[in-house]
């Protein structure tokens, strides 16, 4: 526990009248052991940001006409882009797996008269949707249908 937490962490609004030692962050935080998965989960945020803007560039090029489209297609073959996309794919799958594991229990037991289905059912539905949406879109994009 070498790292210090925020000096005001869990400090009462009016501190007691004795001197206290500052709070320490939990052991292993943020990069090691049990915090690794969570930290990675957060850090994928940066990848998602980049990913969004890359996609924006591609779609923007599509709007610019055939020349721009060809050019962006060419750029995507750049190993840097390829590496980025491989990393992105791993991230996206990691995010999906972690989030879909945590998602069911985040459903309130009841919203008004509605009750969500049991956890495993939600999870199965999420995976089905994932496979369906991603698979469907991939097929469309890859020319399998339409």
């Amino acid at each position: 526990m070498a790292r210090a937490a925020h000096p005001d962490a869990m400090k009462p609004k009016s501190p007691g009248r004795t001197r206290t030692a500052p709070p320490m962050a939990p052991g292993q935080f943020p990069f090691a052991g049990r915090y690794r998965a969570y930290t990675l989960f957060d850090w994928t945020g940066i990848i998602y940001l980049l990913l969004g803007f890359v996609a924006l560039r591609v779609v923007w090029a599509l709007g610019n006409g055939e020349g721009a489209w060809q050019s962006i297609q060419g750029q995507l073959e750049n190993p840097l882009y390829l590496a980025f996309h491989i990393l992105s794919l791993v991230s996206v799958i990691f995010v999906g797996v972690r989030f879909f594991r945590l998602f069911p229990k985040a459903q309130p037991p009841r919203i008004g008269p509605l009750k969500p289905p049991p956890g495993p059912v939600i999870q199965a539905a999420l995976y089905a949707a994932w496979v369906g949406v991603a698979g469907g879109l991939a097929l469309v994009l890859a020319g399998g249908i339409f």
């Binding site: 526990m1 937490a5 925020h6 005001d8 962490a9 869990m10 400090k11 009462p12 609004k13 009016s14 501190p15 007691g16 004795t18 001197r19 206290t20 030692a21 500052p22 709070p23 320490m24 962050a25 939990p26 052991g27 292993q28 935080f29 943020p30 049990r34 915090y35 969570y38 957060d42 945590l102 229990k105 985040a106 459903q107 309130p108 037991p109 009841r110 919203i111």
Partner: protein
């Protein structure tokens, strides 16, 4: 009592120490001991000045939480045999340290109180009217979240608590959520406003570590994230329904 184990314990006496230090004790241990038994042995037999909180020694009063080998642990519940021959015991992370293994609790109590953890009703029910009817299903909805023993392990594990002093935090949100889910309560809107206010439920980034360390399977991560959904629904319905201000 033949086996020996070494304990590295954080010591801090604000009257004398500039900063916390570590002291090492080697003691004979009994195979049936919990971590707390070892601490009590040290206090009784070796160093009477060691300070730590404990009372029930049956995992229900919530006072004996500490970092054992870097992990928030209820020391009266965890068997010594689960650890190696060297064990580190530190005060709970994310809390100011009052002394040795004793942390400042008042910050937690403030957060605890801030969620209005009591039944709020438009009209109080009179004793003569008898008890409420509550079905087993209705009870099940909040039961789990009412099991919290306020041991604060979840606060020690939560990365957001470490960095955002305002965050209401897992156990307190779970408690507020418990009342929101209780069929006898009518204060959900009030609490949802608190949940959306400073230190809001949205600060939680679903690290889920709170639930990993919770000794009572309260699953505070579930509560916090359910509370987010309810807080959003409550916020959205605010545009549709006009609510009378109390």
């Amino acid at each position: 009592m033949s086996e020996k184990k070494t304990f590295r314990i954080t010591r801090f006496d604000p009257d004398r120490d500039e900063a916390p230090r570590t002291e090492t004790y080697e003691i004979p241990v009994d195979p049936d001991w919990k971590v707390l038994d070892a601490l009590n042995f040290i206090k009784d037999e070796i160093d009477g000045s060691l300070s730590h909180r404990w009372s029930c020694r049956m995992a229900v009063c919530g006072s004996c939480g500490m970092m054992v080998d870097g992990k928030p642990t209820l020391t009266c519940k965890k068997a010594l045999s689960e650890y190696g021959s060297e064990i580190s015991v530190e005060p709970l992370a994310n809390f100011p340290v009052v002394r040795d293994l004793v942390v400042e609790l008042d910050g937690f109590m403030e957060k605890f109180e801030s969620v209005k953890p009591w039944i709020i009703r438009a009209k109080e029910r009179a004793v003569e009217e008898g008890t409420h009817r509550q079905s087993q299903a209705e009870l099940e909805e909040f039961k789990q979240f009412s099991m919290c023993i306020n041991c604060m392990l979840c606060y020690s594990a939560c990365p957001v608590v470490a960095n955002e002093p305002e965050f209401i935090g897992p156990a307190a949100i779970a408690l507020g959520h418990r009342y929101n889910l209780d069929s006898r309560d009518e204060g959900a809107h009030e609490r949802n406003e608190i949940f959306r206010g400073e230190g809001s439920v949205f600060s939680c980034s679903y690290a889920n570590e709170c639930s990993e360390v919770c000794p009572k399977s309260v699953d505070p991560a579930a509560a916090v994230n359910q509370a987010k959904i309810n807080a959003v629904i409550d916020w959205a319905t605010g545009f549709v329904v006009t609510r009378g201000k109390e």
